[in-house]
């Protein structure tokens, strides 16, 4: 036994797969201990906030601690707002509708351009041939660069409740800075938010946990059923074998996913918790385990050591457990790993068509994909809502398959080096 495990861990493929899988597992266990967030809490009021740290504006203004720095903030703002595209856009407007001669416009001179712009631009001017989308774009640009060059302090005022007038509380100039650690209220979305405004990272980790759970339970169920029926059919043979094989063939012929869809639909959403979905996947995925275990057992049952046991009067249970099971064990472990992998994929497929667990009760990888698709994250540029999910699914099945090939190399004499 010890030797076998040693051998297994010498296989590079197995170790790589194992490390990836372990890393995923550890993340699932450790992350909730560090970050105590409800994975289903709808935090963001909107769809698909991009990844980043969000600071409370009120806290930032009211934090009290400010640091003066000798950095010219206006320059970089001008730089970011007045991109070359924007400058040439402004030049185009001035030339076409502002009556300015092209030679007077110098796009490299930001100050001159803005001065000219502020003097000439009029949103209500007749801009013939300009489409509405462009007109609105010019108006937005005008709002953005309004007063961009002047170093006027921003005034923070509060409303006096009695008089209803605004009273100045503080004024902020361009040299004041704040350390982000001083801001109490902040939200850190490493992977942004999804369409419900939920933190994708937290949700993803919780979903990976649920999906692994589903995969594991489904894998165990499928393997146990498969193993049991396979052993029975293979060892007993005769009528029992025919009967079991008949049902196995029946289930092999009906695509198991179709069966899964039908059962899931009839079960109803309130019953479809994680365990139920796992159970459904498990009881539709056993046939091929049965078939291969059965064929292995058939080849085993007439071996000498089995016959010897029979002659010694050992019970059937003992023969199966001690003389047959150990010989198919390695195969069963490998099959089990693949069952986990396909269980996770089956859940993802089910949830994608809305037959998975309830959205408000758990997070699963499939559900995350489903909502990302429904809200067109892929057309929206919101990669964070679907790409990490795909990556996790890929990593899980990759690591499990890698482990499986590693085991295969160790156990399969034909492949052994």
């Amino acid at each position: 036994m010890k030797n076998t495990i040693k051998q297994i861990f010498h296989s590079g493929k197995f170790v790589t797969g194992f490390v990836i899988f372990l890393a995923i597992l550890l993340t699932i266990i450790i992350y909730p201990l560090v970050v105590a967030k409800d994975p289903l809490a709808m935090i963001g009021n909107g769809n698909f906030f991009k990844p980043g740290t969000y600071l409370s504006i009120q806290d930032t203004v009211n934090s009290g601690k400010t640091y003066k720095m000798n950095v010219d903030a206006t320059a970089s703002i001008v730089e970011s707002k007045l991109t070359m595209d924007n400058r040439s856009m402004m030049a185009e407007w001035l030339e076409k509708y502002g009556g300015v001669d092209a030679s007077e416009i110098d796009v490299t001179d930001a100050e001159g351009l803005i001065a000219l712009w502020e003097e000439k631009y009029d949103p209500n001017a007749e801009q013939k041939g300009l489409i509405a989308a462009k007109k609105k774009k010019y108006q937005r640009l005008d709002n953005e660069i309004d007063g961009i060059l002047e170093d006027v302090p921003t005034i923070i005022a509060e409303k006096n409740e009695e008089t209803g007038e605004l009273e100045e509380v503080q004024s902020i100039d361009s040299k004041q800075y704040i350390n982000e650690k001083d801001v109490i209220n902040r939200q850190n979305f490493v992977l942004g938010t999804d369409n419900f405004g939920r933190d994708v990272l937290t949700e993803l980790i919780s979903a990976t946990g649920s999906s692994l759970k589903i995969g594991l339970v489904a894998g165990i169920i499928a393997t146990v059923i498969g193993l049991f029926l396979g052993l029975l059919a293979g060892y007993l043979g005769g009528f029992v074998d025919n009967l079991i094989l008949f049902f196995t063939n029946l289930f092999t012929v009906i695509p198991s996913f179709v069966l899964l869809i039908l059962i899931s639909y009839s079960v109803g959403e309130s019953q479809r918790g994680i365990m139920m979905v796992a159970l459904l996947i498990g009881i539709t995925a056993w046939p091929w385990t049965t078939r291969s275990v059965r064929s292995q057992v058939i080849s085993l049952r007439n071996r000498d050591h089995v016959n010897l046991s029979k002659l010694s009067g050992h019970s059937m249970l003992r023969i199966v457990l001690t003389d047959i099971l150990p010989y198919v064990a390695s195969y069963v472990v490998m099959a089990f790993i693949l069952q986990i992998s396909s269980g996770i994929l089956a859940e993802a497929q089910l949830s994608m068509i809305g037959l998975g667990p309830a959205t408000t009760k758990t997070a699963t990888l499939g559900l995350m994909m489903q909502w990302a698709t429904q809200y067109n994250a892929h057309l929206n540029g919101a990669w964070w809502a679907y790409f990490p999910v795909i990556l996790v699914i890929a990593l899980i099945s990759f690591s499990l398959n890698l482990m499986n090939t590693g085991l295969d190399q160790v156990f399969n004499p034909q492949l052994r080096d």
Partner: protein, 642 residues
């Protein structure tokens, strides 16, 4: 041996995958260029053109004038700069062109509603939600009521003509009414309760005689008036042709395809198949007379490609293959703010659209537990409406802090008809979970067996909230409602069946919680909407698509609803509507979840420009350039490079 098998398998799979990818590319390629679609389209197009010849001589003329590019490809390649492309109206293939049919599935031609689509068939008036007025189309001048409010007299424009050249007369209007009523179409079945008869006094004067009750008063003047901007006028002669060829069998007439339709609108049927619906301008359209528009609409063709789903339509819209879209787009503003596309809506700031309707949550008041006001109200209080609006609706709705809930939509015209100050004390704050819990606790509805779900009469409060699958914004909304239930100890599960099953469920009262969108803006609103929310008139119907799906019953509501149509004093009406709003907020038979545009209206100015914009002085509403007075937009369009 095994390894060899693997290799063969690998090779096979690679070939299959490559094949699939190629097929995929080919597919998307053809949808964007429309070349393969064109090939099949052209054959059916020519076939249609020839069958049209029997009906109207002008259509053959049109077809031949198009032949300059090559006779085989009449339809295959519509000239881009003469075609206005639509998306989001038509899904699936067209069934028929018959306004009396129950299932035309022909959105571009037949959309009879509060603001009917008037591209092909025309109505007497066009509704404009911006100023809440009716504008005459086939009619000449405003409708005239008699003093007893039992008759409406409408004059027909002298210039109005059918596309076969004959004038539109009062007799056609009367024939249309009688066809609907005699053949008992769904429109007719409802219409006859309010309009007893339509009589042509002379060729240009038609009188609508309203159904009266025993006291001689009209049953419901408001609902009768509603048909003026709604009813598609059909030609008397043509109706006779259809009746004859179906041997006067009402069922057969309602099923008639009416492929050879005679209409009065600016566009005519050109062709339709499973990929496209195309209309062509009638260059002899009567509306170019000075008494109407004074010119023809600008685009020569109206084309509506049929997409598989919203995502496909959105992609085409972003690419500029679609000009006008009626699609819900997530984070719409990103299209112009981040992707810098020439796309805009009617308003540049959130909510970007003109919101005129309210998707509403209905509780079945005959279900145990939901018959309790406390349970309904607790659910209503616990829902995070801000989340519904900002995420499910992607911010395309004003919040309830901006426009507090009442029976009114958020337009200024309707908000002026309700006293929001008087309703303040009945409003609840957003996602008031604590308040909802207290309400349930006080009502004695608590969790006694410790499973986290409250019980009523010993049974767990557990309900199914349903809406059709694939309606993503509604699906997400119900998920947020379900989350609210979880917060207050009521188990709400979501259920998203196919749209047809959903319709059956809500119309027959076979649901627990459902969602429906009420009447938007029309000459009959907010009255119609109040009926939709709470009228018990619908409670005895076996099949009810009209409103109050939860069978709520309140005598005071019925009393007010009976009084409103006869009331002409604005102050009194305001009192009535305020009281109705109060009852809705107190009893919660239904709860508006958000505001929503009646139609989404997004335009891509890659080819056409000068679409209606807020404050542009044209008074044309953002109704996709097709609905009610929104059709006026078609006359103002310009090419961007012309």
């Amino acid at each position: 041996m095994k390894k060899r098998n693997m290799k063969v398998l690998a090779l096979l799979m690679t070939v299959t995958m490559a094949g699939t990818m190629l097929a995929g590319c080919g597919d998307s390629g053809s949808t964007s260029t429309g070349s393969s679609g064109g090939a099949t389209a052209s054959s059916s197009g020519t076939a249609d053109a020839s069958s049209d010849a029997t009906a109207a001589s002008s259509s053959t003329a049109d077809a031949s004038s198009e032949d300059t590019t090559g006779s085989d490809d009449v339809v295959g390649e519509l000239p881009r700069n003469e075609t206005l492309y639509f998306a989001g109206q038509q899904w699936g293939t067209v069934n028929d062109y018959n306004p009396m049919s129950a299932n035309s599935n022909n959105a571009m031609v037949i959309a009879q509603g509060d603001a009917s689509r008037v591209l092909v068939y025309e109505t007497l008036y066009m509704w404009n939600p911006l100023d809440a007025k009716m504008y005459p189309l086939l009619a000449d001048g405003d409708p005239v009521w008699n003093d007893a409010r039992t008759e409406i007299t409408v004059k027909i424009k002298a210039d109005a003509k059918w596309n076969d050249g004959t004038p539109v007369t009062a007799k056609d209007v009367a024939a249309t009414y009688h066809a609907h009523v005699d053949y008992n179409s769904s429109t007719g079945a409802e219409m006859k309760s309010y309009i007893a008869d339509v009589v042509a006094q002379d060729d240009s004067t038609v009188v609508f005689k309203l159904t009266t009750d025993d006291s001689g008063e009209a049953v419901n003047p408001v609902l009768a008036e509603r048909y003026l901007p709604m009813l598609y006028i059909m030609q008397e002669n043509y109706l006779k042709t259809v009746a004859d060829r179906n041997n006067n069998d009402a069922e057969a007439i309602k099923m008639d395809k009416m492929d050879d339709l005679v209409t009065s609108g600016p566009y005519k049927k050109y062709f339709d198949n499973d990929q496209n619906v195309v209309l062509i301008r009638d260059d002899n359209y009567w509306g170019q007379a000075d008494s109407m528009w004074g010119k023809l609409p600008v685009p020569k063709y109206i084309s509506h490609p049929i997409f598989k789903d919203n995502a496909a339509a959105t992609t085409a819209f972003q690419n500029g293959d679609i000009d006008v879209a009626q699609i819900f787009i997530t984070d719409l503003q990103k299209l112009w703010l981040e992707q810098d596309l020439p796309i805009s809506t009617y308003v540049d700031e959130a909510p970007y659209q003109l919101c005129m309707t309210m998707p509403t949550l209905f509780f079945n008041t005959e279900v145990e537990g939901l018959d309790q006001v406390a349970v309904r109200k607790a659910i209503a209080m616990a829902v995070d409406y801000d989340q519904v609006i900002s995420s499910a609706m992607s911010g395309q709705s004003p919040t309830f802090a901006d426009v507090p809930r009442s029976v009114m939509n958020p337009t200024d015209a309707e908000q002026a008809m309700v006293d929001q100050d008087a309703l303040k004390e009945y409003q609840w704050s957003n996602a008031d979970v604590e308040g909802a819990k207290k309400l349930l606790d006080d009502a004695g509805i608590v969790d006694t067996d410790g499973d986290g779900i409250r019980e009523y009469n010993g049974k767990n409060l557990s309900y199914k909230a349903e809406c059709p699958t694939g309606w993503s914004d509604w699906n997400a909304t119900l998920e947020i409602v379900a989350a609210a239930g979880k917060n207050i100890g009521i188990n709400i599960e979501t259920y998203f069946p196919e749209a047809a099953n959903f319709s059956t469920d809500y119309s027959t009262g076979n649901f627990e919680i459902t969602m429906q969108s009420g009447p938007g803006t029309s000459v009959a609103n907010p009255y119609m909407r109040c009926r939709f929310f709470m009228s018990s008139d619908y409670n005895d119907l076996e099949v009810n698509f009209s409103g109050n799906f939860g069978h709520y019953q309140n005598d005071r509501v019925d009393e007010i609803l009976a009084a409103i149509p006869h009331e002409t004093d604005d102050a009194k009406l305001k009192d009535y509507y305020t009281e109705l709003s109060k009852i809705m907020l107190e009893d919660c038979p239904c709860v508006p979840l958000m505001y929503r545009p009646q139609v989404f209206h997004e335009v891509n100015e890659s080819v056409w420009t000068n679409y209606p914009q807020k404050d542009d002085g044209t008074n044309v509403p953002p109704m996709d350039c097709t609905d009610g007075y929104g059709v006026a937009a078609l006359y103002n369009l310009e090419l961007i490079d012309g």
